[in-house]
Symmetry: C2
Subunit: 340 residues, 2 copies
Amino acid sequence: MSESTLLLDHGSGGMASNRLIGDLFFKHFGNPILNEMNDAALLDITGPITMSTDSYTVDPIFFPGGNIGTLAVHGTVNDVAMLGAKPRYLSCGFIIEEGLKMSTLEKIVIEMAQAAKEADVLIVTGDTKVVPRGCVDKIFINTTGVGELILPEATSGAHAKPGDAVLVSGTMGDHGLTVLSNREGLNFATDVQSDSAPLNHIIEALINEIGDIHVLRDPTRGGLATTLNEIAGQSKVTIKLIENQVPVRESVRNGCSFLGLDPFYLANEGKLICILPQEKAEAALTLMRTMKYGEEAVQVGTVLDPENSPGKAGQVVLETPLGGHRLLNMLEGEQLPRIC
Amino acid sequence: MSESTLLLDHGSGGMASNRLIGDLFFKHFGNPILNEMNDAALLDITGPITMSTDSYTVDPIFFPGGNIGTLAVHGTVNDVAMLGAKPRYLSCGFIIEEGLKMSTLEKIVIEMAQAAKEADVLIVTGDTKVVPRGCVDKIFINTTGVGELILPEATSGAHAKPGDAVLVSGTMGDHGLTVLSNREGLNFATDVQSDSAPLNHIIEALINEIGDIHVLRDPTRGGLATTLNEIAGQSKVTIKLIENQVPVRESVRNGCSFLGLDPFYLANEGKLICILPQEKAEAALTLMRTMKYGEEAVQVGTVLDPENSPGKAGQVVLETPLGGHRLLNMLEGEQLPRIC
């Protein structure tokens, strides 16, 4: 492309928009559905359908392990998959600040296309708005995904049952700490990188090869602690989390200590919580550990009947290394704005 | 709600987010699918499925005839419907500037809920991000819609055929001129208001009662002239537009004259272009005129075989009141940023 920066014209719906769409979006995202160029895309999909949306506003837009575009693919793919579904299609809405470098947008788009390919989803419809300088900070991206349910019945945060095992697919806090430590003005030395990744292949394998999965959820904003509180509330159970079984990288632990953050509340973008009967836990862990993005899967807790637990229905109880118990509440307040 | 302004906490994924979701979004948008509160929504829909997305950045966020929220419902409902589909579900992603008044958000949400009800769609999944002051201008909204195809074959911009009639459902330019004339610093006296409206009921009636609809398209950004150019290009035909048959309100004509704008390039948000065989045109017009938002429907032109026309394939030719012909090009450059 000859243009070096994004102009208001590129969002006008006219000639410049059409050039941008052809030279950039169709070039990298192109597929027969997108290429139809109608107001809407006609999907080749049969029910039951799941749908999820997220707007991504992460700052900085590039960080170790990803960028705002790969995050927008992974985040929505994962949300669609968490209902026990195979993600199939994404829409993509860009809001771009006038003056953004075309090469920056192109780098984002190329890496989004790679992320979509790895996740085996097609970007089938999109929208581009360019707004005057100062009306948005560089670039925000919305993705909305639709998928096909794999199970006869969808997984749900309401399906956790006493006796179930609580598994996580890997370490906690990597994304949150990475973004914060790379933000302008806050840079400090760390070798940590975002865990941003598609989890749909692991989920498909869990459903098809293990089965009887009660809950799948990704602990994004609010982290592991907040997500477990949501599940405990929806399922009306107590969840016991065993503190020293939760995997946290040394570098994340040190960074959190330095910044006064708790890794249990930090966002993850490539990790899932899986709750299923205890007798299936070992097989599920063995399977996850053979798969990319699941190598460090472990059991971190158990679902308890509130009648016979140190907590009440809807509560998460943390068992400390010394054997004591304390309540682990939902996130109150904002630890980190613009983390995703 | 006790809070009077939006805080970063409201987008954190924690307690404040949950209160906002419960007190505002569930209260006004609530339906059994949304209320499940999972990462994704499970839709009650059977194929073939259409999907469309748009991010709305309109400035000002309130204008005569609507606001950014009602526009976000109408715009996406209309895009989904233009493929010959019945829109069923919307996702909704809010990006909000810290400090926005809660009452402003509530007014937008209440009117969105009313717009969704009129269009007979459910808002089934959503996302809220609150970003620091200066990172977004007040509020941007993404909506993504899915619908069910009504026709055995979808309508398409590529289906216009020589001999077809080109109809519009009403006056051109109302939305574009309203937004511009109400923008801060540009206020001038006019009684015009946005035409923002849901067109899906008209489309359903056209398909079910008239049939053989070749093209449906809403002339939004870039206006009638740009949209007809897109259709002429996709269908490889010439489109003749008869200048003095295109309905433009007196107040819009005067406003355009004052500002040096052309109403044929102004955005519409509640108008459709319908292209179908000439012998069906009168019945289609009669039907549209009995329906809300179609009272002023008229034929504005004809599809020509490029071999026997004043233009080439892909061109739009304007027949002037004096009988002359001139090319009507696609919009080049940006007339009005942040019009939708």
